[in-house]
């Protein structure tokens, strides 16, 4: 009898846990916090959003922690950046989640890159002698608020498809976010007008969309090839070029080791601008605030102060 009671209690506990995520809201998991912040802006209280990676993490190198598979198990929608950015860690988690809804090809999986005007799509056949190239195009598109707005609209459409009852709200929220970004962009572009045409050195090939938006010119990268750590001869070459072209700043994401970038900035000399790679979604930061912070750091670099 005692046995039976224990089993009954266990069953009840299990049912409780199973029932706990009973969804009043659409359960969305995104790979990166920028996507989470955008989804939250679009979904509001109608969605429950979780990001797999932190903003402080290198999105290329995220550990496929089993707890992430757990998050995916109950997800109604998985949103990824795509373009092979998450290829090293997402597929196993998708399979391991045992959640058919979020498998590639199902409505519960959304590759956000389809909404973006992609840059740096290799025109020729690529191989890995060129480093860690993304054959589908550069995946760091969320630095550009215009692309962020496009992604927001795409996410709204997918949420509308999954939760048709609230379709109008999602679309309205996406329109609101777009308007907010458009309005803020006027100010941002004015503040960073000095960047137009400015030569800039970056660490990794993450600047394509930022450059496209703000009009600066990335003249060199500290990584000799994407994913290959800097070496002395390459850094020396970058230094020479940077001095020659009078590079305005050195850009690096906070998730990279900034030793070489710091040294280069000091020797050139040029301001070192550290960009937060992602929105601090966990702390409640919004996408607009994230871009605003990014603009602030670039502005500080532009006016000679040290960003970061």
């Amino acid at each position: 009898m005692r046995h039976f009671r224990f089993v009954a209690a266990l069953c009840a506990a299990l049912c409780l846990f199973a029932a706990a995520p009973a969804r009043a809201a659409v359960n969305v998991v995104t790979t990166l916090p920028d996507l989470a912040a955008i989804t939250k802006a679009v979904g509001g209280d109608l969605v429950q959003v979780q990001s797999m990676a932190l903003g402080s993490q290198d999105p290329h190198r995220v550990d496929a922690k089993p707890s992430l598979a757990l998050a995916l198990r109950n997800a109604d929608l998985l949103i990824s950046v795509g373009l092979d950015l998450e290829i090293g860690w997402l597929p196993n988690l998708q399979t391991g989640s045992r959640n058919p809804r979020i498998q590639v090809g199902n409505p519960g999986f959304l590759n956000a890159s389809q909404f973006v005007r992609l840059l740096e799509i290799p025109a020729t056949k690529v191989d890995r002698s060129e480093g860690d190239v993304h054959p589908g195009g550069n995946p760091h598109y969320l630095y550009d608020p215009r692309q962020g707005a496009a992604v927001a609209r795409g996410i709204a459409e997918r949420l509308a498809q999954l939760d048709a009852k609230n379709a109008a709200t999602y679309r309205a929220n996406a329109a609101k976010l777009t308007a907010e970004l458009d309005a803020a962009r006027v100010g941002w572009e004015k503040r960073l007008a000095g960047l137009r045409g400015a030569p800039i050195i970056a660490f990794h090939r993450t600047t394509a969309y930022l450059a496209d938006w703000l009009g600066f010119e990335p003249i060199a990268f500290l990584e000799p090839k994407p994913g290959i750590p800097p070496n002395p001869s390459h850094v020396a070459g970058v230094l020479v070029l940077g001095r020659q072209r009078k590079a305005r700043m050195v850009l690096i994401e906070s998730y990279y080791n900034d030793r070489e970038a710091k040294m280069l900035a000091g020797m050139m000399p040029a301001p070192l601008v550290i960009l937060h790679g992602g929105t601090d979604f966990r702390a409640g930061e919004t996408y607009v605030q994230h871009i605003n912070e990014l603009v602030g750091n670039l502005e500080k670099g532009l006016t000679g102060g040290k960003g970061g």
Partner: protein, 454 residues
Amino acid sequence: MSSVFVRLHGAFIAVSIAALFSAAPASAQQTPPLPPDAGVPESSEAGADAGTPEEVPPGLTPEEMAEIEKAFGGNTQQGVPASTSSAPDSTPGGGLPLSIPGGTSGTNFLDMSFILDLAAAAFTSKEPLQGGAHDPTRNGFNLQQLELSIGSVVDPYFRFDANIVYSQFGVEIEEAYGTTLALPGSLQVRAGQFLTRFGRLNATHPHAWDFVDQPFAMSRVFGAEGNRGLGVEVSWLTPLPWYVELTGSLTDATGEATARSFLGASNDRVLSPLDLQATGVLKQFFALSDDLSLMWGLSAATGPNPTGYRNRTDVFGTDVYLRYRPITEASNTLVTLQVEALYRRRQVPDDVLTDINTYAQLAWRFSQRWAAAARYELGTPAKGEGGEVALDPLDPEWTKNRDRLSANLTFWPTEFSRLRVQAARDRARWRDEADYSVFLALELVTGAHGAHAF
């Protein structure tokens, strides 16, 4: 293949209905975002739920839904491909409702990669005690393996994975299995030839190893190739709030290199399920903090052994994997501690033999490209019921403890290539002196970028 479908009958009722409703929206996803006024009629019956495919979709009354369900009640094969024998359509998308976005070429049907492991080795011993099939085993150059790794989604219900290993003089199907993708209840089934999930290291391939060779615990207890077999495996991700995965598998118990503590090389006919190897694994994961994670596993395997009628072998194991990787700030540091212990119990005529094999390894990646690792292994001789050292029918020379200490340094030019130098001191106490070895190993990975397991 059709028998599999019959067995999964129940699941496919749900799955096929889900597929029916997911098919239409899936094709819409390829088109650019709809105009904002492409409103879907609102329905009061749609419920507060998030419209998962299983539920009544918006715009349908429950009665209509019931009618559709009734229509499909008699024919569950709807929505399921009639036959998998037809070759996959070679045109991208192929008119199927499902195509794979992200694949730039559009033909993302098969992820293939080749992994080449080479090693130059030097041993002080004439007969090194290297038990693993992928271990360097002789002085000079060794081809550890050339592995062809293939993976692909078969259809909305299965994915396929295979690891085919080419040695210098032959080809071997190391793994080839299907994994279900759409079973309800957080269940997943694997069927085919696969490495069992016993412990931590067993299910992995040399590419994922922190050392050039495998711990002797694996080759001594399971065989040179590790524990694997043809069979079926069911795993369940429990609904508990932390990660708890239960796995059970039945595999054939034969194979000198894959199940040597069980039937091994003997080829007895399977007369009942008891003549197969049964494996049960409980895996738990704890995210102790952003930076620190712990994986803990308990495993057990049982199966017949050929020493006598109804004699059995049981292996019990536990594995702990502690991983420290700072992610809240820029860092390349990765420290892992991995410990695994196997307790083996074998019934032999007039006795029960027990022994323990264990290893502990610590790896420290201190920069993007460099890591160092050290490993200690211990294996005790088989002891009888009285506690005295007994004759081990599999390793008759193993009459005393054996321990081995290995240390290595690894350099990754990129994540696709790896150079590793490793030295070891192998002290098998039944031998007169310790054996020393040095390896220099090169690994090259080409082809699709595989996903890394945790």
